[in-house]
């Protein structure tokens, strides 16, 4: 069992396998959500998900937001960054400070 997993479409995450990540091909939001639940139960520490999957499985992602593990981190896929991950960072700032003062 690896500490780090990666979820996304095949074209984007296949390369992760060469770096020693546990790679799962999944693009459907609901299925990805279930997969994240399962990985969390199996004590995976970091789950990298591609941005489209991150948005599709937002419900599950939010569930794990307030726990120290697993860290679910959006990464760009083979089509490049969509900005979803940056929006997430920005949302954090807004939540904490009340206004977007950093960007």
């Amino acid at each position: 069992m690896a500490d780090i997993a990666m979820i996304g479409d095949k074209d984007s995450v296949l390369i992760g396998r060469a770096a020693g990540l546990d790679v799962y091909f999944e693009t459907d939001g609901a299925a990805a959500g279930r997969l994240i639940d399962r990985l969390a139960k199996e004590n995976t520490r970091i789950i990298f998900v591609t941005e489209p999957v991150f948005e599709a499985a937002a419900e599950t992602v939010n569930k794990y937001k307030s726990r120290p593990f697993p860290a679910i981190i959006p990464v760009p896929d083979s089509k490049g960054a969509t900005g979803a991950a940056m929006r997430n960072v920005r949302a954090n700032v807004e939540k904490a400070i009340g206004a977007d003062i950093l960007f």
């Binding site: 780090i4 296949l14 060469a18 970091i46 860290a71 960054a81 700032v93 904490a96």
Partner: protein
């Protein structure tokens, strides 16, 4: 008025004690909020910087992977990557930022630079893509740690801010109002008593003179 009280001295001193506690709690909470926000800002700046870098480098790695795939057949790419490399390991600990439990992740390099597939039937572009991606790993792990910390801190700040506001705008004003109205009531009773005594004295005096 949400606080139920009886207009007695006992009750007033009890409420006064509560007010002192609430005020002290408010001050502490406010300090905690300010400090968490300060730390959060440094973390989130780092988060933004890391994310920008990761996004740039990752897109590059992905692009070279796409090129690598173009130079090989789909089947041979999948075959080359079918066997997973030695699993990437991280050292997991937990730290504390103002009593918020945050993860501490350290990447443990596997040490071996070797590619997890043979050179036969794979292109050098694939090697380059894999290498780029592997170089990205420590950065990705750091991003994971910082981003998670930001998430947790943002949560905590929101909660603390709510508590500060509840104390500042609800609890403390209510207590002050309750104390004020009790002291008014007690004063009123005092005056009532005094007038009654004076009145009785007058009446007794009038009786004596008759």
């Amino acid at each position: 008025m949400a606080i139920n009280y009886k207009p007695t001295r006992m009750e007033m001193s009890r409420l006064k004690k509560r007010l002192v506690t609430a005020t002290r709690g408010h001050k502490l909470m406010k300090d905690k909020r300010d400090e968490t926000v300060r730390r959060f800002i440094t973390y989130v700046r780092r988060n933004r910087e890391l994310r920008e870098r990761v996004e740039r480098l990752m897109s590059e790695a992905m692009k070279s992977f796409v090129i690598a795939k173009a130079t090989m057949t789909r089947a041979s790419v999948e075959e080359a990557l079918a066997v997973p490399a030695a699993p990437a390991r991280i050292e997991v600990g937990s730290g504390s930022v103002l009593s918020v439990e945050v993860p501490k992740l350290t990447y443990i390099p596997t040490g071996e630079k070797a590619l997890p597939y043979g050179v036969l039937g794979t292109s050098s572009e694939l090697d380059a893509a894999v290498e780029k991606f592997s170089e990205l790993m420590p950065l990705l792990i750091e991003l994971a740690e910082v981003e998670k910390t930001c998430n947790l801190l943002a949560d905590k700040i929101e909660k603390t801010r709510r508590r500060v506001n509840a104390l500042e705008y609800v609890m403390i004003p209510q207590l002050e109002e309750a104390i004020h109205s009790i002291s008014m009531k007690l004063d009123e009773n005092e005056r009532g008593n005094l007038t009654r005594l004076m009145k009785t004295k007058d009446m007794l005096k009038a009786k004596e003179q008759q």
